[in-house]
């Protein structure tokens, strides 16, 4: 009829199309989330189940390029790089999970304390966050690791100490927002104690925040773990964390053994991306409005 109706028709079609696509977005997100979680768990299990034989020293097969037999190649001692990488990955994932779990719990506690406690406590928490953010994380982790005489303990504490800040801030803001909600005011007027309100109204709201915050912390924690072990802190060299594999590969770069550096790093990046996706998907499922764009 005229230009305007044409535009409208087009727009009308667009609506229909996006509608059909978005209708099952939730289902898709659920499936994707489960798939990603499955991949990560199987990576973890694969690493744990691979026998030490698979990474045994075998000088006869040293310095081999990637092949069907050794998909990632072998290193200068003939150890299969794929098996080593999977083992390293499972160590990295474990360290990441434990460290971020500690960190997330701390974040929730600190965040709630800051929001519900006295004003002095709140400013102290803010000051503390400034403090932790004030020292570059790697330097702080190096320092903590040094203080623990290197090893796993220092690594875990270091990563836990450096990762809680942003989640704590988020939780604090969330609790403050909740506290201003009317139903909380009503509960208070009804004579409910602060503790009751905390347990009945505030904590349940924090659980999704906690889960999402925890999952979004994983990739960072794993990257930090890899970085610190790359620098030579953290785990002893016998335990092939990805960082250590990559650090060792540096010595052989010039001899053209590119696969030593390439594949383990790539695997690490893949896992980090998957974890990121997992976090985003969960966030979308739990809190569709904040995840919308």
């Amino acid at each position: 009829m005229n230009e305007l109706t044409i535009r409208r028709n087009k727009a009308g079609q667009n609506i229909k199309e996006t509608r059909r696509k978005k209708m099952n977005r939730r289902t898709k997100t659920v499936i994707l989330t489960v798939l990603i979680a499955a991949v990560i768990v199987s990576a973890l299990l694969a690493g744990l189940l691979i026998s030490d034989e698979a990474v045994a020293i075998d000088f006869a097969n040293a310095k081999q390029k990637p092949s069907f037999e050794h998909p990632f190649g072998t290193d200068w001692m003939g150890r299969d790089l794929f098996a080593r990488t999977m083992k390293g990955l499972s160590i990295s994932i474990t360290v990441g999970v434990v460290a971020s779990a500690i960190s997330a719990v701390a974040a929730v506690l600190i965040g709630i304390a800051a929001a519900t406690g006295s004003k002095a406590l709140d400013s102290f928490v803010n000051w503390l966050i400034d403090l932790v953010m004030g020292v570059p994380h790697l330097v702080l982790i190096i320092l903590i690791s040094f203080s623990c005489g290197r090893g796993l303990k220092g690594l875990l504490i270091g990563i836990a100490v450096t990762h809680w800040t942003s989640l704590a801030r988020l939780i604090r803001a969330e609790v403050l927002q909740l506290r201003s909600e009317q139903y909380i005011a009503v509960s208070r007027k009804l004579g409910k104690s602060n503790r009751w309100i905390l347990v009945k109204h505030i904590l349940p709201h924090m659980i999704p925040q906690f889960v999402v915050g925890l999952i979004l912390m994983f990739p960072h924690a794993i990257l930090h773990e890899a970085s610190v072990s790359f620098l030579g802190y953290g785990l002893p060299p016998e335990q092939p964390a990805i960082g250590i594999i990559l650090s060792e590969s540096m010595k052989y770069l010039s001899s053209g053994m590119w696969w030593l550096a390439f594949f383990p790093g790539l695997t690490l990046v893949l896992i980090v991306i998957l974890l990121d996706h997992l976090g985003d998907n969960l966030k979308m499922l739990i809190d569709p409005y904040s995840a919308q764009e």
């Binding site: 000051w127 400034d130 403090l131 953010m133 004030g134 020292v135 570059p136 994380h137 790697l138 330097v139 702080l140 190096i142 320092l143 903590i144 690791s145 040094f146 203080s147 623990c148 005489g149 990739p219 990257l223 890899a226 970085s227 790359f230 620098l231 030579g232 802190y233 960082g243 990559l246 590969s249 540096m250 770069l253 010039s254 053209g256 590119w258 550096a261 390439f262 790093g265 690490l268 990046v269 980090v272 991306i273 990121d276």
Partner: protein, 330 residues
């Protein structure tokens, strides 16, 4: 008025920085004390033989026989006077080592800072202005991907490509200990700078770009941009009049507030490329139990980060009229 306000903000922040720095030194000192490594023993081991006087002097510096609080007091007093002790690794006063290494690190971080800031801001604007179009989607994917790549692995890849395969840069960058800084020519320094700066920039620009993109999208969806549209302003005019005005300050602030990540990144980049800066020094200090150097660099890096944060706060306060007002009302 404005100047007065800025000065008051400055002083308030200064007090905070001083308390924070004090806390950092307390914590760092406690952490180092907890370490199984004994600084005196370590020194003796690394030097080989020490005269009893030297040993006494060292024990005096570390206060090995004093109670912890007094030990900290002595050490802190020494630090206030600029005496950070002697580095075991470099056999020189820590303060000199830091000064020398910081010049190198500053060059690396400075290049990265400017380069990643400009590229990140530019790309962020492109992405924000073309929200959800193909270019935006591709660039966003790339940025998110770069956020998942560890700096040191990217460094390794760059080494592989540019040094091993293309042979443009030598692999061993390290200037051996003992070669004086003055013996290295500027050209050599630049040559050494390119790859680490590239690796670091690739790591940092994605963050700036994603931030700028989001900020620009927020601005473009604001009521005032809607009103500008209602008044017949074209897309170009809106970008020029309202877009840049409202996103440039957050972007600059973010750049100043990112000193911590920049420093952390440079620790990794310097280690991969054996770049002689503070980053490789701090990790070497930790691995070789060079306690004075470790403490010195920790404090220095904190000072560096706090300075960045302070500049960010001041800039924001000086330029954004709303923040300016809120300072005045505090």
């Amino acid at each position: 008025m404005t100047a007065k306000r800025i000065i008051s903000v400055f002083f308030r922040y200064l007090v905070r920085v001083i308390t924070l720095l004090f806390a950092v030194s307390v914590i760092a000192f406690i952490l180092v004390s907890l370490s199984p490594v004994d600084p005196v023993q370590q020194y003796v081991l690394s030097v080989g033989s020490v005269s009893p006087e030297q040993r006494a002097e060292l024990e005096d510096y570390w206060g090995v026989n004093d109670p912890p609080v007094e030990r900290f007091g002595n050490w802190f007093r020494a630090i206030i006077h600029g005496d950070f002790g002697t580095s075991l690794l470099y056999r020189r006063p820590v303060i000199d080592v830091i000064r020398e290494k910081f010049v190198n690190t500053l060059a690396l971080m400075g290049c990265t800072w400017i380069f990643s800031g400009l590229i990140g801001f530019g790309l962020g604007c492109v992405m924000g202005a073309n929200k959800n179009k193909l270019a935006d989607r591709i660039l966003k994917k790339i940025c998110l991907l770069l956020c998942s790549v560890p700096t040191f692995w990217l460094g390794l890849l760059l080494l592989l490509i540019f040094s091993v395969w293309l042979g443009w840069f030598p692999i061993g960058f390290s200037t051996p200990i003992g070669v004086l800084n003055s013996e290295v020519t500027i050209w050599q320094q630049l040559h050494h700078l390119v790859l680490p700066a590239l690796a670091l920039s690739l790591m940092s620009f994605a963050n700036v770009a994603l931030h700028t993109r989001q900020k620009l999208i927020d601005v473009l969806e604001s009521d005032y941009v809607l009103f500008a549209k209602a008044r017949g302003e074209s897309r170009r005019e809106i970008m020029r009049r309202h877009g840049f005005r409202n996103i440039i300050m957050p972007a600059i602030t973010l750049q100043f507030a990112s000193f911590a990540e920049l420093f952390g990144g440079s620790v990794l980049a310097e280690n991969v490329f054996s770049y002689p800066g503070l980053g490789s020094a701090v990790s070497a200090a930790g691995l070789n139990s060079d306690v004075p150097l470790l403490l010195g660099i920790t404090l220095f890096s904190a000072l560096f980060v706090f300075t960045g944060n302070m500049i960010a706060n001041l800039l924001y306060g000086a330029i954004d009229p709303q923040i300016k007002e809120s300072y005045a009302n505090e």
